[in-house]
Homo-oligomer: 107 residues x 2
């Protein structure tokens, strides 16, 4: 159940965003998301709960209409269905963990 | 619901291990664990499911009786109640995400 850093397919999500599915199983899925500077994760919501960890870089995070800056090492929790989105202020990487798994990412 | 890198209390868990609770809510809890070189996370199990991300360093990981080495950027999934443990091969940091939350860490 180990997923190596080097393994896994980086899937282009368009407009400067790419996604790699890391370890997952049962009710948990870990996904690494790569942003070019200025790339946008548009505000969206999903029934899944989420915690995120900024691996590197910085984002403007909008959650439930409130904007804030998050930098490497910062973390946040997104409750079910709360609208959230990010704008990468520099080239950045974030780790998103979902419960349950994002079946839409497996297609 | 943002937890800053600089905030949060690093709690000494003894014998070269310290723990900091990061973002959490609902059914998710993110915990950063700091290991001195040689420090041990003894083999244990819990009903919570877990995914882990090696932030820095390297560990010998034992899961369900099988040993392997995991390094920075590697990730793994621990199913409910599967015995697992680590030995830090160098000074290392790991990110553990649990569902549901580890109420025992909040005491």
């Amino acid at each position: 159940m180990i997923v190596r850093n080097q393994s896994g397919e980086r899937k282009d999500a368009g407009q400067g965003v790419a996604r790699k599915i890391l370890a997952r199983g049962g009710e948990l899925m870990m996904v690494q998301v790569f942003f070019e500077k200025g790339a946008v994760g548009a505000v969206h919501g999903h029934p899944h709960q989420q915690v995120s960890y900024v691996v590197s870089g910085a984002f403007e995070l909008e959650m439930d209409g409130v904007k804030d800056i998050v930098r490497d090492g910062d973390t946040f929790y997104v409750p079910s269905s709360v609208p959230h989105g990010v704008v990468a202020l520099e080239r950045s990487v974030i780790l998103d963990i979902f419960t349950p798994q994002r079946q839409d990412f497996l297609k």
